[in-house]
Symmetry: none
Subunit: 411 residues, 2 copies
């Protein structure tokens, strides 16, 4: 089945917003076995919406439209669709009840504008939007499917995953496509490609490998396509195991795993606790850990010791060590890890001190220099020095992921 994605919104055409919705949707549709033939960003105008729909229906079997469903005047998608299908808006009681419930839960009053959100084109099947007030709308006409959903990313994502893809799969059988995403940390894309070159070249011809680099992480997506599911699954598992044997230390997880999630789950399972002393990462490691629900069962807390006086007073790093070795040093990061471990009385602890940049680098310690220490229940301390890049945001992310991966390896 061929799919076209249409993203409606002037904000895309003036470049105010990067179209991350399109890439996320394209990835999900491809993973489900569909082909995305075009991604089209257009303006919030009736004529442009009509033209884009007409043309998309020639190229694709299904057209998924995002955006322009808000309650305000600049959002015209719903009215445009009514006109396109020559139908009228009808008040939908079920959607209205759901919008009311959502508003009550948030403590807001339902306004007249919100009541309008429950009016939908007569010919559509409403798709339940559990996160927002604009329902998805599913239309079928001339052997084509047209779906309209909000552009708010997490509303869009739930509607695509829970409603659109399952419904599309019922309409068409795209053949069997199996994917395995293998997650690596601690190596760059080109270095990884060299190490696994022989394995990659020996892959059967119906396999495809894609490198998907992100700051601090390289994802490998292995895709196989065919008609015999058990055989494909077997081959995929075998190739994954072969890769696992080749780079056991670099792989930290699969699919949608995150390092922070694996760390939290393992700690909970082992009934162990953790604390963090952060300098250059500035709270980001704690944020990653606490973004995982249930983390309160293992994460006691942390100290963000940005100023050296806080390193002394709140974590107990000695003034002498700070003066003698500097804040970005093996000695300081070890005292930070041991200090937070004993003060917070946790089984494990992480400490990071580095130069995130763009300022603060020296010849000896250029921007990106980062010391990370971890401690274990038997008070073992492991400290390592890393040299990340020049980009502040990426240095923070790389340092945090590297630190969490150090703990993961010890767990």
């Amino acid at each position: 089945m061929k799919i076209e994605i249409i993203n409606i919104g002037d904000e895309l055409l003036i470049g105010q917003v990067v179209n991350t919705n399109a890439s996320w949707m394209a990835e999900q549709f491809n993973l489900a076995g569909f082909e995305v033939v075009q991604i089209t960003a257009i303006s919030d105008t009736y004529s442009h919406i009509f033209e884009a729909l007409d043309l998309a229906k020639i190229r694709a079997d299904a057209v998924v439209v995002t955006g322009g469903l808000g309650p305000t005047n600049d959002d015209v998608t719903k009215e445009a669709l009514c006109k396109y299908f020559d139908t009228t808006l009808v008040f939908n009681e079920e959607v209205h009840v759901q919008v009311e419930a959502l508003f009550k839960l948030r403590g807001f009053k339902v306004t007249e504008i919100n009541r309008k959100q429950a009016e939908l084109p007569a010919n559509c099947i409403p798709l339940k939007n559990i996160h927002g007030t604009a329902a998805g709308m599913w239309f079928e006409q001339d052997d084509r499917i047209i779906v309209s959903i909000p552009g708010v990313p997490f509303e869009m994502k739930t509607l695509v995953s829970d409603e659109i893809i399952p419904r599309l799969l019922k309409k068409s059988n795209p053949g069997i496509i199996l994917n395995k995403t293998i997650l690596t940390q601690g190596i760059g894309e080109s270095a990884l490609a060299e190490i696994i070159q022989n394995w990659e070249e020996s892959l059967p011809s119906h396999f495809k490998l894609a490198y998907l680099p992100q700051p601090g992480i390289v994802r490998l997506r292995l895709t196989t396509k065919g008609s015999d599911r058990p055989k494909l699954q077997n081959e995929l598992d075998e190739q994954t195991r072969a890769l696992q044997r080749l780079i056991p230390k670099l792989i930290f997880g699969y699919g949608e795993d995150t390092i922070e999630q694996i760390v939290v789950e393992t700690l909970l399972q082992k009934q162990k606790t953790i604390s963090v002393a952060e300098s250059c990462t500035g709270g980001y490691i704690s944020h990653l850990i606490t973004s995982i629900s249930g983390s309160s069962g293992c994460f006691m807390g942390s100290i963000v010791a940005y100023d050296n006086r806080i390193k002394e007073k709140m974590i107990g790093v000695s003034k002498e060590t700070l003066i003698k070795y500097g804040a970005v040093s093996e000695e300081v990061v070890i005292e930070m890890a041991s200090g937070v471990q004993s003060r917070f009385n946790t089984d494990y602890a992480i400490a990071v001190s580095g130069i995130a940049g763009p300022d603060g680098g020296t010849e000896d310690k250029p921007v990106g220099t980062t010391w990370i220490a971890i401690t274990t229940p038997d008070k073992k301390v492991i400290a390592k020095k890393y040299l990340f890049g020049e980009h502040r945001g990426r240095n923070i992310r790389k340092a945090a992921l590297t630190a969490l991966n150090m703990i993961r390896k010890e767990l």
Copy 2:
């Protein structure tokens, strides 16, 4: 002049790459006064390229095409353009000299493949690519301009800024388009729309208003178009001031401002310091502050007190208060703010305690319930209760932005 952007590349259609090129180009063209009518991402195939060009020429005066100009087999744009214009490739000595020079500079050998990079369609004007081996190509036919450039971001950017925009400006005198983005915090899209309804309806007809909601923030983009720049700028400033008078407390900034950046800049300017005590936000407020370079000049550090014992031991919240009122209460959050302010010896402090979810809610304190307190240099404490939503990640973000905005208002 109307422009269409066409991005060629299968990597866009499988969702492997986010189309940041398109948003950057759209912004540049808009700032130059052109209108981007559509952004189209298509596959690396002749037929799709032909179709997209034919359709774009109907919608736009100029079509700017990126991608598919690499030396490898999957890049077909140049050959497709030859066929489209019914012409042939001609070796271009000037481009070849430039490619050779670039390779020598990088210490690479010029290969046969790279020699091919100097072959260009006979009817094009080459645009010099100082950063790479694929020249830009400028075509004119049927009163339309078609430009093809590489998709490598920094090569694309230089070609757009130094070659394409100056040449387009020579061809047409675009009207003036001015934008102002107004940033609001603390109110939802619909509630905001109701408050500013009269102002919005009284906008002159050459003005356009767009609502751009993000978790915790609603951005308003005001656009005006015409020919008299000073007059337009005047009107835009006037309308912005009228809005500022209408919702002074809701506006925290303009354009690319972020709350954390404004807070850090104001603190630095006033030579004041800040510390944070975080429970449900789990380090995210500290992360936002420390994502701003230079924040070490005002941010001393923070305590992430996830466990109640840490609230007691490290911030000095009394056991009695915790037992009597619970961790998510006005009393506790006030003690947290005062505690971290005095222990970290800072001018300002922020404290947040809430139920981020998805678990931990009760009838009295449902998921999303959040207490925020801030303290000022004169030890004034302001505490407020908020009810955010059900989504953990969004609750964390909303609480953090709301807390930072409370401090911003006091600064």
